[in-house]
Assembly symmetry: C2
Homo-oligomer: 244 residues x 2
């Protein structure tokens, strides 16, 4: 059974303070992964305060690119720095985590369509490793380099590996309705579109609405939940909001 | 016209001293690349003293793998460190170099056959970047992680991109015969097999004999030459030993 777990950038970093890790939360998440004993796990993490501020500074988004190599290296370098922190916390818990940097393994064509190599990810799982991917820059035909969001990676990896369960660990306990109550299940977009806003902090990748839309397109059930629900999700329980 | 330039690990590092850069030579090579003005250039570098000692310590080769994640991270981490030095020297010369880490973009199947993603490399060239790849670890079905040599990468990239010229910058001015004279041209392996030895320093990836054999299999001419001949190679001249 293949599981994809996304650790939201806002969860593992202080999103409003540039390049500041939320080390306590990250350590707790690493511990939850280790204790779950779950096999065939792919971890994806977002950019949070490591990626988004650099992206905003350089005016780069998922559709608007840059060719300035200093800008490209700022965004990619900050994301690989965050990735090293994530790997380090997982290694501290004896999770055999290995990095997969999407800038090295992905491309967008002139229509913006993404190709992400996943054969290496599948073999990493077979060999007992926990591949860790992350939001990153991606070379984009006609645009230079654009942003590749963690959520896009989740969709691409889950689809290619035919994942059985997808989990998005967010700062909120699920997708919230107008009364800030967790919506238990979302089966189509329009019914909840009016209650989905954008995140308060800078988020060049679209916030919760984009997450829900992408997760509905998956063939497998996806869950949105808060950090406290990670052990439950990894134990196979229904937690937070089930999408699809 | 697409050019692939390999910078040998022994050229850019002090191969007998662990993790020691040959900064002077690397800076001169970066300057030669910048001054050539050559377009559509892919750079590949070897491991030298950053990769080979770790690989030897952990008993990992291109065919014998490891599953210990600390060993995997030692080899991969040392190579990404060297890659950052190479990028930094190229950036100092205003070369728009971007990293492509093969551990993120490659896999070997159970027969040891390599798949390396190259679509992103092609788009990087089209967008005006200089992709820089390097010897690395690679996940290998049934073996864990094995070594992926810079020379294997040169072969894979040159073949996939249908490169027009391939250059291997080595510590010697070409492939040498029994009298230490440069052989001007090699068109088949057996005629020179008896004069090709292995390198004096630790080289888990096979030395000159493996290089020649792989280069003969390419569809494009390849050149083996010393650091002084890099400007000539990039200017389109015949330098060192022509193979194929």
């Amino acid at each position: 059974m293949t599981t994809v777990l996304k650790l939201g950038g806002s969860v593992i970093t202080e999103k409003d303070r540039p390049e500041t890790l939320d080390g306590e939360t990250l350590a707790a998440l690493a511990s939850a992964v280790a204790e779950s004993g779950v096999e065939d796990l792919v971890v994806v993490h977002g950019g949070g305060s490591f990626g988004h501020h650099h992206a905003a500074d350089h005016g780069v988004s998922t559709t608007e690119g840059i060719r300035d190599v200093d800008g490209v290296m700022d965004v990619h370098g900050a994301m690989t720095t965050l990735n090293r922190f994530v790997l380090s916390r997982l290694h501290a818990e004896d999770v055999p985590a290995v990095p997969v940097h999407p800038f090295s393994a992905a491309v967008r064509d002139g229509d913006g369509d993404l190709t992400l190599m996943t054969e290496q990810v599948a073999t990493m799982l077979e060999e007992g490793f926990v591949p860790v991917l992350h939001g990153d820059g991606v070379v984009h035909a006609g645009e230079g380099v654009t942003v590749l969001s963690g959520d896009e990676i989740v969709t691409a990896v889950a689809t290619a590996l035919d994942a059985d369960r997808v989990g998005l660990c967010s700062t909120v306990p699920g997708v919230l309705d107008g009364d800030d109550e967790v919506i238990p299940r979302i089966e189509e977009f329009q019914s909840v579109a009016d209650v989905l806003g954008v995140s308060d902090a800078t988020d060049v990748t679209g916030g919760m609405a984009a997450k829900v839309r992408e997760l509905l397109a998956l063939g497998s059930p996806a869950y949105v939940f808060g950090p406290d629900a990670v052990p439950g999700f990894l134990a196979g329980e229904d937690v937070g909001t089930r999408i699809g």
